[in-house]
Amino acid sequence: MSQQQENETDKLLRSEVRVVNIGLREFARDLSSCKIPVVHVDWSPPAVTNPKIASLLAKLGG
């Protein structure tokens, strides 16, 4: 790691923590309960890998 990168990392860790939580909502809830601001992004890995089925699902909704 370069000196500049180390400085950046150091600065990040010393600054106020700002969290974007992606996926499991429980992690966001835990942080919120500790009064740590967190933005939750509702996301899960796509269960459908077959493009034909994915395209069909997009038309059928649900």
Partner: protein, 420 residues
């Protein structure tokens, strides 16, 4: 006004399917011989659990039960002749579901067996299931010796008529309230029916005393000695409910789930009588002492009609006593199983509530779109049968259908609705 989109049509159709699943009024109305209850059930026809299958692909327990049923009916003198006859092509094999019936495990039903008759009075349809034989050496696990045949004859000739008379004496026994009470007493109605089996004895005892006083002690001992007696009642009930939700144009709700010990099969409300099948899976769970997974048969039986209407694995949170038995972990795990099923269903059933989950209604109406898009499969509680005929149950566990059933159904739906 603009034509609703396909997605909007599906939403409306699934709401209707959900309304019908919740709006059923199932009543146990009779116990009679299958040939009387199901007139189109022909001679030399054997109904079995699961999607269609022929003799050559049947598993051990299914073959054992078929041979036993052939001897029971007198179509062959012994088991060896029965197997020969079954393999000859002279016996017609058909799913129970093609006759509005269901049966646990091997699910074998023939003309002279007694069946429970449940009428869904809200929609005017009837469904059928054989009478539960008890545990151990029984036909549903492939048992086929004289003890099994003699018990089936006693059920058909003595217990069945007596139960039928008692039920008719009562002008039918409404079942929805019994289920609601059972859920609050620790039953999930698939692997635990202890409470409801007791409740049905209370319902029937006085009428049995009037209609069959001589046989009363034996019949009461037979029912009381079998915690799973009510399973077959709830299966016929669930079938009568699911039937009413079948045939709704644009609905993606599952109306049948079942397995024949080789294949798992589903049917969907709007896709007619087409079966979508894939390989039945081995249940994960607890095996009785002395058995290994190699002794078990893959998933078998029509009993997951219970999950199809929101009971069984979908109501696992109701049954703390069964969680360990099926190897599902802790009560919290059971609650999680139940909660996760809300992800793939249309909505809750407010009449069947779960005390351990703040009286949440059981998740009801499996939507194939939600199953495929989430990757979350229906959770089924199940018994594990010995793969050798007639050896009975060797454990219990949790199992899921293969995803391919839901993917095939979705593709068929897309094709039927011009969405591919």
């Amino acid at each position: 006004m603009a034509e609703p989109s396909l997605s909007e049509k599906i939403t409306a159709a699934n709401a209707e399917a959900h309304r019908r699943l919740l709006g059923g009024e199932p009543v146990l109305v009779d116990v009679k011989l299958a040939r009387e209850a199901i007139p189109k059930l022909a001679d030399r026809t054997v109904l079995h659990a699961g999607p269609p299958i022929g003799w050559s692909r049947m598993c051990g327990p299914m073959r054992g039960a078929v041979a036993g049923a052939i001897v029971f009916e007198g179509w062959a003198r012994n088991l060896a002749e029965a197997e020969k006859l079954a393999a000859s092509g002279e016996i017609r094999f058909e799913p129970n579901h093609h006759y509005n019936g269901v049966g646990p495990m091997t699910g074998i039903t023939t003309r002279n067996m007694a069946v429970l008759v449940v009428e869904n009075r809200a929609f005017g349809n009837r469904a059928f299931c054989t009478v539960n034989e008890g545990m151990g050496n029984v036909m549903r696990f492939g048992g086929n010796d004289q003890e099994v045949v003699d018990r089936l004859k006693w059920i058909a000739g003595t217990a069945g008529p007596a139960l039928g008379a008692a039920v008719r004496n009562r002008k039918g026994i409404p079942l929805k309230n019994i289920i609601a009470r059972g859920l609050s007493m620790g039953d999930e109605m698939h692997m635990r029916n202890t409470a409801c089996s007791s409740l049905i004895v209370r319902e029937l005892a006085a009428d049995l005393a009037e209609t069959a006083p001589k046989e009363l002690p034996r019949i009461l001992r037979f029912i009381s000695g079998n915690d799973m007696f009510f399973l077959n009642v709830v299966m016929a009930m669930a079938k009568s409910i699911a039937m009413a939700a079948h045939g709704i144009e644009h609905s993606t709700v599952v109306t049948t789930m079942c397995r024949n010990g080789t294949d798992f099969g589903i049917r969907v409300s709007s896709t007619g009588d087409t079966w979508f099948t894939g390989p039945a899976q081995m249940a994960r769970g607890l095996l009785f002492a002395g058995f290994t997974e190699a002794d078990g048969n893959v998933d078998i039986g029509d009993s997951c009609i219970t999950e199809t209407v929101g009971l069984g694995g979908f109501a696992m949170a109701a049954a703390p006593a069964v969680v360990g038995f099926v190897g599902a972990g802790t009560l919290n795990d059971a609650i999680n199983y139940t909660k996760s099923m809300t992800e793939i269903t249309v909505g809750p059933n407010p009449e069947w509530t779960l005390p351990t989950v703040s009286m949440m209604g059981v998740p009801t109406g499996i939507d194939i779109r939600k199953v495929v898009s989430s990757g979350l499969l229906p959770v089924i509680n199940t018994a594990i049968a010995n793969k050798l005929p007639g050896r009975g149950q060797i454990g219990a566990g949790v199992v899921t259908p293969p995803m391919v059933c839901f993917e095939q159904a979705l593709m068929k739906f897309g094709e039927m609705n011009g969405a591919l």
